[in-house]
Structures are given as structure tokens and as C-alpha cells.
């Protein structure tokens, strides 16, 4: 991906969407994302009024419940700067879901506009040629999260960013394009199926012999590491932003 419509490198200012999952379970991910961007020379704004993109309600078929929460995001991220998200899934929600969520409402133009300037973190870095400026020894394996891969169509950016980390080896796992089984409400609605898919993913990741599992989505990582821990599969994991922040 060389150019994302609506994003211009001039000025190099950006909003950071922390994501609700990081806020609640792993604040280090959002902090790391901010650090990585700053180190790359980006002026980062982290709006204090942000909460969640609204995806949890949207994806289980409750658009009326999702809309007020998403509207808050529209207000919090109003402005010309790109919105950078350390989550392929939240970025996909805004880019792909917002135009439909707000269709026919007064907020539709703003939703479409925000969708156009919202990008996932590694996409932002890769499309602007930002160097990670990170050094890390050892090896990692990368998990293609579904919304990143199939809704954003993004396979290359995270790999390009990882390739820019000095001294790091990427070991691809088997069946990397197959879902880890998280799936939001699916993980608790059909936990046995979700758990089995997570276990398969954890085994594939561990089988690479890489030092740790890296992904651009915290949700998948919580699920995969949690299932690995429960089933005794040794697996370390971090978000891409955390790896880059060092």
C-alpha cells in the first residue's frame, strides 16, 4: 500500500485512537503506539474525550446502541489530521462500518470523512515511509488478524514495518490467514468453537519457534495467549506497537 486516500504526509500530525480494549486491559499498547509515532517525528494528539469506536454493539446487530458511542468518536476525532489506530479491527470499523452505521443520519458526511482519514498504525507508518527506529534481537511470528487482512486488505504493511526493525527475523506460521476464533461476541457466544480455533492458532504460532507472537490487534492476542495459557502452550506475545517502542 503506497497511498491511502485522504492522508497527506505534509505536517505529520495525527490523532491516536487508543482503543477501548487497550484502555481497559492493556494501556501499554496505546502508550507504545504514541511513543512509536512521536519517535518517528509525528505530532500526536490523543483526544481525552475518546471512548470506543462502537464496534462491539455494531457487530452484534445493535446499531442503535453503537451509534451514540461512535458519534462520540466522530466528535473526538474531528479535524483534518489522520486518525491512527493500533488495531486493524477498530480501523476497519471506522473505514468500512461508519458509512453504513451513519447512513441517512445528519452525521453521515462526517462519518464518511472520518472513514477516509482513518488508518491502522502499521499502514500509517508504511504509507509514509516512517522508519520504526527500533532494534530488537531474535525472531517473531506475525498473526494476520481478519479485519486487517480482509477488510482493510492489509498484508504487507505490518511485514514491511517488521522488516525495518534491525536484527529481527520474521518466521511465518502455517495457516496464517485463518481466523484465530476471537470474533468479538462469538468468543463468549460459542466459546468452545472459539477456544478450539484459538488453540490451533497458538499451536501454529508456537511451532514456528519464534520468540514471540506479534499482531496488530490486541483482541486476537488476548484470546490466543489466554487459550495458550489455559492449554499449556508456551507462547509470548506483544502488540506490534510494543515491539516497536522497545
Amino acid at each position: 500500500m503506497s497511498h491511502i486516500p485522504g492522508i497527506h504526509s505534509a505536517g505529520m500530525r495525527a490523532f491516536l485512537m487508543r482503543t477501548c480494549l487497550a484502555d481497559h486491559l492493556a494501556p501499554s499498547v496505546a502508550r507504545a503506539a504514541a511513543e512509536v509515532l512521536r519517535r518517528a517525528g509525528v505530532q500526536v494528539r490523543v483526544p481525552a474525550g475518546q471512548t470506543c469506536c462502537g464496534q462491539p454493539a455494531w457487530s452484534i446487530g445493535l446499531p442503535d446502541e453503537a451509534r451514540p458511542v461512535a458519534r462520540r468518536a466522530l466528535r473526538a476525532f474531528a479535524g483534518p489530521e489522520p486518525v491512527v489506530v493500533p488495531s486493524g479491527s477498530c480501523a476497519a470499523m471506522v473505514r468500512h462500518g461508519y458509512p453504513e452505521l451513519f447512513r441517512g443520519t445528519p452525521d453521515e458526511p462526517q462519518a464518511v470523512e472520518m472513514a477516509q482519514r482513518t488508518v491502522e498504525l502499521s499502514q500509517f507508518m508504511h504509507s509514509h515511509g516512517l522508519e520504526p527506529q527500533a532494534v530488537a534481537g531474535g525472531s517473531v511470528t506475525y498473526h494476520d488478524s481478519c479485519h486487517m487482512l480482509r477488510i482493510l486488505g492489509e498484508r504487507d504493511s505490518p511485514r514491511a514495518v517488521l522488516a525495518g526493525v534491525e536484527g529481527l527475523e520474521l518466521r511465518e506460521m502455517e495457516a496464517t490467514e485463518v481466523c484465530c476464533g476471537f470474533g468479538g461476541s462469538f468468543s463468549v457466544g460459542f466459546p468452545e468453537v472459539s477456544g478450539k480455533l484459538g488453540e490451533d492458532k497458538a499451536r501454529h504460532a508456537a511451532a514456528t519457534g519464534a520468540d514471540e507472537l506479534i499482531a496488530c490487534d490486541l483482541s486476537c492476542l488476548l484470546h490466543i495467549t489466554g487459550r495458550a495459557r489455559r492449554t499449556g502452550i508456551p507462547l509470548r506475545a506483544r502488540h506490534l506497537a510494543e515491539l516497536l517502542a522497545g
Binding site: L25, A57, V69, E100, C146, I151, G189, L197
Partner: protein, 463 residues
């Protein structure tokens, strides 16, 4: 709970969650499913290497979209062409009307034995049961469907209905049916079925088939297959009854030729099916074979109500089964857990839409991780991911009432800073209280389902 138009199988026990739990724990089933999905994926990769699949898919999407847009006009043309060729046409508003018509045809002929080839539409309307209730003997002649008939089971896949069974299980069923031991080699099993079913082709009074595609301009029905049973069922008995979903139509032969190429590529990873039977009316003067009577039953069954809605694209489906094989959930539980003839992503969208608002299948759209691999697999570009999300919004299963109530509270809390802040504090405090050496092993309330399968890191990154 009853549906306006039952599509789900009424005899399936347990809740959806229970069925998925049992299926995922069945190692033999999961192994059978995985082998079949791997074989499909290898074929699909081959097709993408040998053909310009992306371009073919876009053209297929346009053809289907155009046909669904012109549906009333195309159906009128089809009806007049089939009649002109000497066939009968019956428009059935629902499954009950379709079954009643076929039963009437059978009784009028004094029929006793019905030979069937595989048809999803007849599974949808439960035609076998209707014919059996009227005193007829019905024999499925597609190998997979016959195996299931012997097993007393429902199909698990649109194209490969018995894919959840292995050769040993099949041999046991054949031995029970014929009363003699049957070797377990695949070739011997196929030869055994060939021998047993030939008597059925020879003596059937009526042949019942589905329709993969109807071509309006000539009134031709396309029936696609690999085994040869569809040809025998449509050529030998004195009456042929074809049952088609009303959307399975294209205007002309250019469009039909393209879809007939795309269908086997998507369904079986081959660039042609073995047989495509193109039927234009019954036997004509001077011909020695072919049915004396041809009846085309065109089934609405809730389809026309989907036109012009946000679900219209489900009508583009050509029933290839690719989205099933591509789906990690289907590969984990198989089709039978869905309790509908239509399983996998397309079934999870289509079944509740056909059944109507009070359907027992209202939970099906939730049986998906929304991973989107079905979008990639679909040869006519149906946006299944988005349709699953929309279907969740349209059908409101009673099982999820509490979840909806919880999300109303969530929506109020997270639309403001204070509520969101309180929620974060609660999470931080909760994790600290419940965490043991960095992990939570048991969450209370709605979180219990999470920790039934996984631990939760109370510190991130986990150690």
C-alpha cells in the same frame, strides 16, 4: 416458537450452542471436515492459478445482480418458454404449496416410487417427507444424499452432503441396507451404490431434480452434476418434476455459459463438472427417452420479499458451497450443527431470512467470527461479512435478550466521559483483585464464558 416458513429441520435436538459444543469435541467429525476443506482449498488454489478468477467473479456478480434485478420479467419469459416447449409451470408461494403440487402430480399418475437427485430447494421445503406422507417411496440417488438417507441424517454441505462421514461409516450403512458385508474401499463402495440404485432408475415413476440455473430465453433448465444420476432421473422416469428457487435464473446463454464455468470452479475446484443436463421441455415426438411430462415448480418461499432490501445480494448465491469450506466455524462444527439445509455463512444469513421474523434459526447469524473469509471465497462476490452483521440486526433471537439489555447500559455509559472512565477504573480494580500471578482464571457474570475456555492476562504484556 414457530416460523412462518420452516426451513430448519424440526427434529434436531439441543440448542445451537450445545450442538456446536458436541461437534467441536467430535474428533472424527473434525478430521473428516478438515480433510474435505483441505481438498477444496487445494482445488481452489489450482483454479486461481489457471484462470483469471477475480475477473470471472466480477462478471458473475454482475450477471447475478442483473438477473435478480429483472426477476419478474425473466420468470415470465421462462414460464412462457417452458410452456411453449410442452412443460408445465407452477409458481409456489411457499414450501407447503410446492409440496402439495408435487404430491398432486404424483397421485394423478398413480406413482409409487420417486427417484430424486440432489436438490437444496427440495431439502428446504421438506419434499421427501410430504411425498412419504402421501404414501410414496422416495429414494435419493446422489451418492452422498443416499448415504444420508440410509443414516437418517441431514446434509452437512450444499455440494458434498455426507462429507462429515468417512468410508468406514459409509460401509457400515451400506452393509445394513443390503444385508451383506461391503468392502471399505472407496471404489467398492461406489460400485455397490451404483448396483443398488440402478433398480431405482429403472422402476421410478417420477424423477425429481433441482435446478442450478434456468435460462429464460429458451426455457432451459440446467442441472449440474458429476455422478450421472441427475441425467438418469431426468431422462428415464415418465415424469420429471424440477424444483427451483425463483432466483436461479439468467436471461440468456452468454450469461449461463459464464456461470456454468464459474460454478464447478468454486464448488469442486475443477473447470468443468462431469455432466451438465440442459433440459428444454419433455420428450418430443420420435424420441425414445425423456419424460412424457415435465413440471417446473418455481419456489418463492420468502425470496421475493428480499428483493430491494439490504439483503438482496443473498439472492445472487449459486449454491456452490465455497463459503462453507472457507469458513473456520463450519470447518470446526460441520453443517449439521446449523440444523438447516443451508449451513455455513450463506446458511446463517439465508435461513432466518427465509423463515421469517420468529424463526428458530434466528441465532444462526451469530455463529460466525466475522472473519470475512467467506467474502473472499464467494464466486459471485456476495458480501457475506456485511450480510451477517445486518442479519444480526434484523433477527433478534430471544436467547440474546439479556445481551441486548446489557448493551443498552453499555451504550449509555460509553457515550460519555464519566461512564467510560468509571468503566476503566472498574476494569483496572477488577483485574487487580482477580489476578493471580498475572492471570485471571475465572471471571464472574458474563465474563464466565470467556474464562470457560481461556485465561485473561491481568497484566499486559502477559508473562
Amino acid at each position: 416458537m414457530s416460523a412462518d416458513r420452516p426451513v430448519s429441520y424440526p427434529d434436531v435436538a439441543g440448542t445451537l450452542r450445545q450442538r456446536t459444543r458436541e461437534a467441536v469435541a467430535d474428533a472424527e467429525l473434525v478430521g473428516n471436515l478438515r480433510a474435505s476443506a483441505d481438498a477444496w482449498a487445494a482445488g481452489r488454489t489450482r483454479m486461481e492459478e489457471q484462470h483469471a478468477f477475480a475477473a470471472m467473479r466480477e462478471r458473475a456478480r454482475q450477471i447475478r445482480t442483473d438477473a435478480v434485478g429483472r426477476l419478474p420479467e425473466l420468470l415470465r419469459r421462462l414460464e412462457s418458454e417452458v410452456r411453449a416447449a410442452g412443460g408445465h409451470v407452477y409458481f409456489a408461494a411457499d414450501g407447503a404449496a410446492a409440496c402439495a403440487y408435487v404430491v398432486e402430480v404424483a397421485l394423478a399418475r398413480g406413482a409409487r416410487l420417486v427417484a430424486k437427485s440432489k436438490s437444496m430447494a427440495t431439502e428446504e421445503i421438506k419434499l421427501n417427507e410430504a411425498l412419504e406422507e402421501a404414501g410414496l417411496r422416495v429414494v435419493e440417488t446422489d451418492l452422498g444424499e443416499w448415504i444420508l438417507q440410509l443414516a437418517g441424517q441431514h446434509p452437512s454441505h450444499i455440494i458434498a452432503p455426507a462429507v462429515h462421514l468417512n468410508r468406514g461409516q459409509v460401509a457400515d450403512l451400506f452393509a445394513a441396507e443390503s444385508g451383506r458385508p461391503v468392502p471399505r474401499e472407496r471404489e467398492a463402495l461406489v460400485a455397490h451404490a451404483r448396483g443398488r440404485l440402478r433398480e431405482v432408475f429403472a422402476s421410478a415413476d417420477i424423477g425429481v431434480s433441482g435446478v442450478n440455473l434456468a435460462v429464460a430465453e429458451t426455457g432451459t433448465l440446467c442441472v449440474v452434476e458429476n455422478e450421472g444420476n441427475c441425467r438418469l432421473v431426468t431422462a428415464l422416469p415418465p415424469v420429471h418434476v424440477a424444483v427451483m428457487g425463483m432466483e436461479r435464473i439468467v436471461a440468456g446463454w452468454d450469461e449461463a455459459a459464464h456461470l456454468l464455468e464459474v460454478l464447478p470452479m468454486a464448488a469442486i475446484g475443477d473447470d468443468a463438472a462431469t455432466y451438465v443436463n440442459l433440459i428444454t421441455g419433455p420428450r418430443r415426438a420420435g424420441e425414445q427417452d425423456g419424460p412424457e411430462e415435465l413440471h417446473l415448480v418455481i419456489l418463492d418461499g420468502g425470496r421475493s420479499a428480499l428483493r430491494g432490501t439490504e439483503f438482496e445480494e443473498v439472492l445472487n448465491c449459486i449454491r456452490c458451497g465455497a463459503c462453507l469450506y472457507s469458513c473456520p466455524v463450519w470447518r470446526s462444527v460441520g453443517g449439521q450443527a446449523y440444523a438447516s439445509p443451508y449451513s455455513g455463512p450463506i446458511g446463517a444469513v439465508l435461513t432466518p431470512l427465509l423463515e421469517g421474523p420468529t424463526s428458530p434459526s434466528a441465532e444462526l447469524p451469530f455463529l460466525s467470527s466475522l472473519c470475512g473469509s467467506c467474502d473472499d471465497a464467494c464466486p459471485v462476490g456476495i458480501p457475506l461479512h456485511d450480510l451477517l452483521v445486518r442479519a444480526r440486526a434484523r433477527v433478534r433471537p430471544p436467547q440474546r435478550r439479556r445481551e441486548r439489555a446489557a448493551f443498552r447500559v453499555w451504550s449509555h455509559l460509553w457515550r460519555g466521559r464519566v461512564g467510560y472512565w468509571a468503566s476503566r477504573v472498574a476494569a483496572r480494580v477488577g483485574l487487580r483483585l482477580l489476578g493471580r500471578r498475572g492471570w485471571v482464571h475465572r471471571l464472574p457474570g458474563p465474563g464466565a464464558a470467556w474464562t470457560s475456555q481461556r485465561d485473561l492476562p491481568s497484566r499486559w504484556p502477559p508473562t
